[in-house]
Amino acid sequence: MAYVPLADQDQEMEMHHPHTWVEKYVFSQDHKVIGVQYGGLAVFTGIIGLALSLLFRLQLGFPESVDFVDPNFYYQAVTMHGMIMVVYFLTALFLGGFGNYMIPLMLGARDMVFPFLNMMSVWTFFISVVILMSSFFVSGGPTGAGWTLYPPQTTMAGTPGHDAGIILMLVSLAVFVVAFTMGGLNYVVTILQYRCRGMTLMRMPLTIWGVFVATVLGLFAFPALLVACIMMMFDTLLGTSFFMPAVIEAGSPLDYEGGSPILFQHLFWFFGHPEVYIVALPAFGLVSDVLSVHARKNIFGYRMMVWAIIAIGGLSFIVWAHHMYVSGMNPYFGFFFATTTLIIAVPTALKVYNWIFTLWEGDIRLNAPMYFAIGFIFTFIHGGLTGLFLGNVVVDLPLSDTYFVVAHFHLVMGVSPILVLFAAIYHWFPKVSGRMFNEKLAKVHFWFTFLGAYSIFLPLHYLGFLGVPRRYYALGNTDFIPLSAQDLNSTVTVAALIVAASQILFFVNIIGSLKWGKKADPNPWGAASLEWQTPDTPPVHGNWGDKLPTVYRWAYDYSVPGAAEDYIPQTVPENEVITASDDNFETNKDPSPAAI
């Protein structure tokens, strides 16, 4: 039987329309509801991650007066903050949240290919969050081994949460990987198989390219984390020695022999480095779309952007040991991994250039989403460049394990993706909710977040140059650390408190606008991509009414010469483009966009 694309079998597709409130909002199979559920749950864990960071920042900023953070809790808070933010917040929000919401809408599909599996994915994610949070309530509390969970200390008595806490963390991660795999397979199949007519791969918005490549990375990378978790559980519960050499715990030898702690680090970073791009690539995609729409200009160098995403994705699998230059692995690996790591800077830099060239000769509307997108370019340039320090193996020697590392990765994979998240949430809020947000409040939120975050992380680089180590509960008496370093720490803590408090503006804006926001135009920004062309706003179950859309052009036809409007939706065929007819227009020029 000949292959018939799914988009052409629309009449035979069965939509499981919900009948009850529970089916509609709880166990929903609608990708949009699932996207919001994923996003909401991720934001909830993110708030906990943020609160933990404030607690340990208070200790670092005011060690004399803060006595509710003891060393034990400090390490637990640092650990849980890291793991929550990287995995349960950013990964879940970008792929589970935005991926779910955007993929079918941007590709002209009615839903994901496997809606039931999609529902299973979000509820499995929910279980993993419950397991993770439960570790706060068990004896010994959550693990304090650092978010990298390096053995042997993870399971040894000198580490907070070394009994129940670490086991719950490992189980929760394993369950998360299951949830991700269910979602991830769905995203990949949907992107490859469920695009509407005319939606070729090279017509897809960059958001989809980012989500697609990130998902593929995740499907290859998360299994490494899964096996590392399982092996560590075997070591702890069954007494195997995968990661455990002969070691001494508080004076008594433990019953392990011959394992390799560095093996765990290889597995962890084989997951951990692609993980950076699992977060970054969707952010790259989303911000490209926001920039293009609000600059009223096509994204500059679309094809190069696509290839850069693919190249970065591929390279991200052969750079992992740059996290391990000083781990005690064979130092000769340093040559290879420093080279691959610096090569990855080239496609990444090209993306930055192309974002800025998208603004060049644009007609920039400085709406709130655009503020966040431009803010992202600034912080990403800074965070990307500091990566060149740490990637270059000898420069990493003095800087590794200092505050420089903390500052670098927070700028590049904390602040930058979060600025994109806000850009994206504000940008798509009118479509998702059918209401406009408060523009002024959003801009105030931007200034606090952007300036505040930069004033947290710029100074931390300099503590790193000085040589101040990370993960120190207190600096104590150290000759080379001047007292002014403590003042700097206090300032940074104050900035962090202000940034955190200003996030209330975001929630007030979003929740308030749901109720009192002005009713939104179906396409308030004049965007060309498919998700803005739905018959209903917000889109209803099935997305497209009776007939699936057909796509005739790429997603970036902005300010096309000859066209009357400054954007041409993807659904408009060439012969239906409304051309400019006013007197200023030179009719002797070829008005067809095809001639460009």
């Binding site: 509710f68 060393p71 094809r303 140059f465």
Partner: protein, 451 residues
């Protein structure tokens, strides 16, 4: 408009911050100037890109902001520009990577004249070992680790007998003598870092890692652990003194060799007993202590701890300003003029029967347990017996009022801040786990249940 100006201000502000910052690399004390050179190259290349890209960004935001009647230019691609930028970026990357790889090649191949020494990391202390006259370090294994052999040196290995062992966290090096540090851990990952030397490497249980450098500047520098190694990570400190070859040789000669530490003269209990007569007046004939005289119970305490504290009193590391009771001890401890006398008396104290002291402190036992279990048990153990391994004295069954005084002294900076008291300094930091006197009492009350 505002956004463009703000980006401009941030670029200028970042550059100003950079040049005005008092927080910058420490003065280098090794010959790894090539690392600093590579950092400077990286700084100039990335600094240029940072300024150029962001100024261009600010310019675009300002110049092409929306104006009535203005229309964006339609320009999907510009191959020439993109190719040009790719080449430009690649050149920048090569300019940074090339010197980096050359310097790394030097780092991974220590010179043949580098002398070896060993750094041992344990939770949460540094110890060091230098080869003896044979120039070779003996083999070691965690299986041999014991209180008298913390390195786990193979007692059968002839090369290990003359190894010089340094059982405290202060090491010395001779200036301008390249050294290769062999790094070993008996428990978890640690990281041997001296910021002034620029190089660092993890200590990994189960293998020996290394780094090398040539110390070029005399002085004493902090050693810090820079790989999270458990709750005591931030108090795992040490120091390295770089001095002239002659001073270094003298220092090394004054340290014991492994075989010397293995065959100490047996303690003379009767000499200890004779000396103890003075102590008995306050601490009691059986070391049971006397609160009225501010003398804590000493019976049952770990002998190595008694020895160490007597030495601290003698050296003035304890009993200084603010510690009136401690200063009385200084006089008595100074009567023990030799190391043998100290050893004899602590050996004699070890013969006392260990009956738990009477409890004098009440408090919230649940809160005490919570604090103890979270912060104290890692070193003093769940049952409060303490262990040589973590340099933690026994707490259970000892004088609870003395515990409260000492924790208060640690918190007030009266005890533990003396440069000789490396282990007390750790307690200064850890004692903050107890917020106030009430919490100290809670912990004391909990420890009273451990008997």
């Amino acid at each position: 408009m505002t956004l463009a100006v703000v980006i401009l201000v941030l670029v200028i502000g970042s550059v100003v911050f950079h040049f005005a910052s008092p927080w910058w690399f420490t003065d280098i004390a090794s010959d790894w100037g090539s690392i600093d050179f590579t950092i400077n190259v990286t700084f100039w290349v990335t600094g240029f890109v940072f300024v150029a890209c962001n100024l261009f960004l600010a310019y675009c935001v300002w110049k092409f902001r929306h104006k009535e009647g203005h229309k964006a230019k339609y320009e999907p691609e510009n191959h020439k520009l993109e190719a040009g930028l790719s080449i430009f970026t690649t050149l920048g990357v090569v300019a940074m990577l090339a010197p980096g790889l050359f310097v790394w090649a030097t780092f991974v191949t220590p010179p043949s004249d580098a002398l070896e020494y060993e750094v041992l990391g344990t939770q949460w202390q540094w110890q060091f070992r230098y080869p003896g006259a044979d120039g070779l370090l003996g083999t070691a294994d965690t299986g041999f680790v014991s209180e008298s052999n913390p390195f786990g040196i193979n007692p059968e290995d002839p090369y290990g007998q003359d190894d010089v062992v340094v059982n405290d966290p202060q090491m010395h090096l001779a200036i301008n003598q390249p050294v290769k540090a062999l790094l070993r851990s008996n428990d978890v990952l640690h990281n041997y870092t001296v910021p002034q030397f620029r190089v660092k490497m993890d200590l990994v249980p189960g293998l020996v890692s290394y780094l090398w450098f040539d110390p070029t500047k005399e002085g004493t520098y902090d050693i810090m652990c820079q790989e999270l190694c458990g709750i005591g990570h931030f108090v795992m400190r040490g120091s390295v003194t770089v001095q002239s070859q002659e001073e270094f040789d003298n220092w090394l000669a004054s340290q014991p060799t492994f075989s010397e530490t293995q065959r100490p003269a047996p303690p003379d209990l009767s000499a200890g007993q004779a000396q103890y007569a003075t102590c008995a007046a306050c601490h009691g004939a059986n070391g049971e202590g006397n609160q009225a005289l501010n003398a804590p119970k000493i019976a049952g305490q770990q002998p190595w701890y008694i020895e160490r504290q007597l030495n601290h009193f003698k050296q003035g590391a304890r009993g200084g300003a603010g510690d009136t009771n401690g200063s009385q001890m200084t006089a008595f401890a100074s009567m023990l003029t030799t190391d043998e006398a100290v050893r004899n008396i602590s050996a004699y104290i070890a013969t006392f029967p260990d009956t738990p002291a009477t409890t004098t402190i009440a408090g919230d036992i649940d809160n005490g347990f919570d604090i103890y279990d979270r912060n104290c048990a890692a070193c003093h153990l769940d049952n409060g017996s303490g262990t040589w391994y973590t340099d933690a004295p026994k707490l259970s069954g000892m004088s609870d009022w003395y515990f409260v005084t000492q924790i208060s002294n640690f918190r007030a900076g009266i005890r533990g801040n003396h440069p000789y008291d490396d282990y007390g300094e750790q307690m200064v930091q850890m004692a903050t786990a107890m917020g106030d006197l009430e919490e100290i009492n809670d912990v004391a009350a909990y420890i009273n249940t451990l008997r």
